[in-house]
Symmetry: D3
Subunit: 164 residues, 6 copies
């Protein structure tokens, strides 16, 4: 049988990538043949990103260097345009909380309006990552807390460089 | 029978007015004889509005120019003071999501404390507008997306002017 | 000016009517000229009602005997059919909690599908009644607790008769 | 390239199947090569099902008779055992509301404990089906309401047979 | 210093006690000198309990036999009366989910009305137990699933006896 | 009997302290022998505080001057480090709404990771304070509204000084 390859995009700010993000991206391979981690260059949610787009892409590439079906890209316009450009019909999102859910539902419906063939699918985090968020990681790290159980070693190094 | 006229205010930022807002304002006439769309001049939720108060009022007036019982005003102080000034005892709000609900409930209770005769009533959006928000419209439009199914033509023109 | 009268229905099980229900029904007169409290005879949510429909109607009539614009009726079929039969275009509901909100939203959308001219409007409870529910009242009363601050004296008498 | 086929199961009571269920099952083909609609024989959520398992399976088979990659099966034990028996590593669920979300999240985590390779993925309903539920359809139909816009003609016939 | 002892009650159905319940009861000792696990004899939430009150008390006593400050009792009336009878001014509850939260909040406010000196305090579950509920345990066990990671060995034995 | 003293911290921005905050702090003495109100100097949630840390501490000290077991401190780093420094094993939080709940749950789990002996406990507000928030108080006061029923007289004076 000759089925078309399925590509999923996993969009986000990844400022920085957490172990929760890594988990979702890898599990995305259960439903797609290729997962493109899509770093939003024009982050509208995160007012002042801690890391530049280039730094965030670099950390992601190191984190996924042994996952050959996980690619990393940045994008600067509409998510639906980026999806079209890489031939993706699936958008992957992690759902932690009810408040996540409502924002994600709005985004999914909006993106469906803009590109009806694009399907947004939600995965649930592993319980040990359910409380993790990049903003909490940034906050704890900035205050000198130990975040070594929340991020990969390569990200930990960058956080230490940044926060001294 | 000689009943007093009922006036409802429909407050918001309307930056810009969406088809969802239009729907709620018109359906407000099911429970009031007159709906005053009240544009908050000192928007505390929206940090940097895309359109000035004057532009937002102007778009609303064009959108509702054929609805004789829908008026458009701006206000600059407390909502309860504005309500008193136009003789309104009803505040109209659209409820899309659970997170909306909680903020709205807080506001309704606070306003009841400040002006016990003021009743806040909630309407539910038509399902096709349930995912719509002015902030999503601004975001999609800024990135070059097509928002023609979310706003009236007059608003679409303004968004195109703004985002080039 | 000669405006048509507005009739709102306020449907529920009212098993039994609480002070929270009384508050919502009376505040409904802020947006309608007449409120019809509509007792669901075929209660699908409450498996075994504590009081018969006749008893529930009787308690409501006593509670609202001095409110000339609040009427009490029972109904046995679809809410939308009952609304048509009394010439009502407004359905009144109290919103206490997020879980209420979601069920209510589903019902409101379903009723809109069945009768597009029917508008469901939500009022928020007074904070002191926000935790009140008929099922909690039944439960506390059945266990011998004092519910005199949650229901009217006439309802209190009936609960005492029932629970000995 | 020679990839393994992906099978997803879409479990539920389907008492009866609604247009919302049909939509989710078909969209499941965006992420799996085959969707097995799995009818729970021992329905624990629905106390007294309106239709027998055989009737529910029969309605589903008629509804999906032209969708060659959608199969219909019933199952009587643990979902994870059924998933193993059909070689499925994906469970498909539709997410309408916050209250859905929490129950679904619990189930997904429990199933992950029982069968770590099983991934639960959530799809969002088309807005026009967002308020639909099988229990509302049963209730409205039982009271004589028109549900022709909520279910397929074959299901409509069965509901009319049942409710006279 | 001579401070009064603090007693907390931890009420529930415990049908059966899970590792999540055990965790909450033991952590209750961080804020009270004594925790009384209070088994509701007249369970209103669980329609047909799987285990009798005596069986549930017996399992709890075995589970907490090495925790000298955790006592087990059953009660048959109002929670507030039971609290008074054991001299407790604290009610302990675990909060897993938003839907839990709303029901718990209603109960807490109702109990505060009935006994103003009674304080309800909420603890959050350890993430690995966040998805656990007694009803899921009963359901999975009844269908032959392995629940050995969700309950203590003594409870596991009883579940196996019950479900054959 | 010689039990160790229990200290709880009650962290927040308190910009400014409301009657709801006062209520939670005092009720914290039901589960701890000492409550330390901990004013976050580096407020990450409140972008531009209305009052300086010194002013917020000063208002709190005046408000609690007759409560000998309520202390007021500011802190500038991680909450868990502050808790250790004052020997506290309890963190006290008030829970008003579902959206509060989710953020609080994330924080509680994160803090448990960072300091496993630290227990976060949640209290529910008195219904009359359930809608109160410091941000609403600031907003209403800034617009000239009367907030005398939401804050203590000493706070009211400061708000009037600030807003003229």
């Amino acid at each position: 049988m000759n089925r078309p390859e399925r590509t999923a995009i996993y969009p986000g700010s990844f400022d920085p990538v957490t172990l929760g993000h890594e988990d979702i991206a890898r599990r995305g391979l259960h439903l797609a043949d290729r997962v493109v981690v899509a770093v939003a260059a024009r982050a509208t949610q995160v007012k002042r990103p801690l890391f530049s787009v280039e730094e965030r892409v670099d950390m992601l590439e190191r984190v996924f260097r042994d996952d050959e079906d996980v690619l990393v890209r940045s994008f600067d316009g509409l998510l639906v345009d980026f999806a079209r450009s890489v031939g993706a019909r699936l958008v992957l999102r992690g759902l932690r909380a009810v408040t996540d859910f409502e924002y994600e539902l709005q985004m999914a419906q909006m993106n469906r309006e803009l590109y009806p063939q694009l399907e947004t699918v939600f995965l649930t985090p592993h319980p040990e990552y359910a409380f993790l968020s990049a903003s909490l990681v940034r906050e704890v790290s900035a205050l000198g807390g130990d975040v070594s159980t929340f991020v990969s070693p390569t990200v930990l190094d960058r956080l230490r460089d940044r926060h001294g």
